[in-house]
Amino acid sequence: MTGPRHTRAWLLLAAAVPLSVYAALFFGSYPLSAAAIHEALTAWLRGGPETQDLVIVRDIRLGRIILSFLTGSALAVSGGVFQGLLRNPLADPFTLGISSGAACGAALALGFGWALPGPSALPLAALAGAFAAMGMVLGLSRLAGDFSRESLVLGGIVVSTFLGALIALIKSLNEESVSAIVFWIMGSFQGRGFDHVGVMLPYLAVGGATVFLLARELDILALGTEQAAQVGVAVKRVRIALLVGAGMLTAAAVSVSGIIGFVGLVVPHLVRMLVGPDSRRLLLFSALGGGILLLWSDVLARTILTHGAELPVGVLTALFGGPFFCLIMARRRTA
């Protein structure tokens, strides 16, 4: 792909973001005409009275749209980083056990009814679990002495398995909470909004800045540890910084949404096929593509059923993402 084509693709995707946000405002179970939506937006911008229409358009729909976009972006970017860093095309944001950690934090809060006040309590419990898991994986890898790809993946498997058993234990001890825990794990933006954007934003900012600033080093690391060291990259420090940065993105995403699979696996793959392996481009395009994909997946999840019932968006992404990923792999093989 040539430079101007990259620019065109970038412009197209960048334009698709506001268009998607705007178009998604029109979907929901509450009947709102285009005029009512525009009136609510105008009232918001002019500081007008707080009507029910305004609450629905701004706090419920827009809050959820922005949250799903940011979550999709975070998952796709961290997927791109993990795939590059671990030099494993099947790595995804959950490879290092971060999702299991978040799920464990949420399961503890839900299972034992920890009555932390406010809508941010559950995401914060999940976030704490995600960071604890990441710390455990990094600790295990450090015990192995090198933060190598193998020790990280192995640490991720060990931590995931252990935390998976812990979640099963919590479910087993709290039968009444099983459905709440299972539903959280399936991934959903039901009931989420600007409060949750507030919870994830600091981690997105720090994690995103870290991985984008180190994107060039990520490319150099792909050449091999020795080669990277020869050109002056502080391999160990950069690797840890990238892991922590991408881990923060994953933790922030999972803490507000639950576990949403395949976005972080499929999007970087697709983007790599379109724009090549350059990490700066890959991460930028993944951020936009992942965000748009999850935004529309959530629109589908909250409108596909009748009577206002909702589907967990994580189930939808897995249902569509799984076969789609198989198709990509098959086509690559035949190519």
């Binding site: 929901g28 179970s29 509450y30 009947p31 707080e50 009507t51 029910q52 609450v55 629905i56 706090d59 419920i60 729909r61 009814g113 009555a115 406010g118 809508p119 559950l122 039968e175 009444e176 909470s177 459905s179 709440a180 539903f183 959280w184 959903s188 039901q190 009931g191 909004g193 409060d195 909250r302 009748t306 009577h307 206002g308 019932a309 909702e310």
Partner: protein, 273 residues
Amino acid sequence: MRVTDDRGVEILLDAPAARIVPLYGAFGEILADLGREEAVAARTAADDFPPAIASKPSIGTHLRPNAELILGLSPDLVVQLGGRPEALEAVRFLEERGLTVAVFDLENFGQLFSVMERLGVLTGSGERAAERTAAMRAELAAIGAAPAGPQPRIFFEARYPNLLAAGQGSMVAEIMAAAGGRNCVEAPDKLVRLGEEEVLRLAPDIYLMQQGPMNPSPVPLAERPLFRTLPCLGTGQVFTVDQALFSRPGPRSIEAVRQLSTIIANWKTEVRP
């Protein structure tokens, strides 16, 4: 003693059951209501009503009863709730080991009365069952005969966050109808996952949130920013109710109807447009 359970299986006992293991709390409550509390040989882990039940040995949970403990109690009757395939796994296991297991569905008042009558037959307390169901029917009829007026549209929150509401197929919908209101959630299921936007669309006249193991610490509606424009919040028609009364179909469901009919009567006199 001969009845047919809700699987269509004939349950035959030579004598009234004297050692019964109810695998769902409501059956223990029904047996106590029939005056056969002493026949209850065990309880499931979460059961604490009536208080005397608490001293009975626990045999695990409703969905995962401990077969070894049940067999050890040598009951002459085990009663299990129908509907869930995983609950019937335990039934198969116990039947294969020679125990008599009756499976009853319990989702509405009609089924509740039918179960009470059939348990009455199996425990030799048919007369008491007839009296109790007649009294309960009469009370429901009396509540239903309250002065007519607009029916409030009621929303029942089973759990929040990850909002779960009672649908038309729930016992709660029956309680609402018996109390003179109606469930504003139209989905036919027992429980439905809904977004906040749908609650705003439904704009219920009365909002009930249950408190119990499923929803241990309900967040007050006023503290949920997305619900702040709900009209029922402004009119003060938001109530916390006991999960054990509203979500467990049993003799105490009548108490739930009584409580809700009081709420509805107040709504009619103080709030209705």
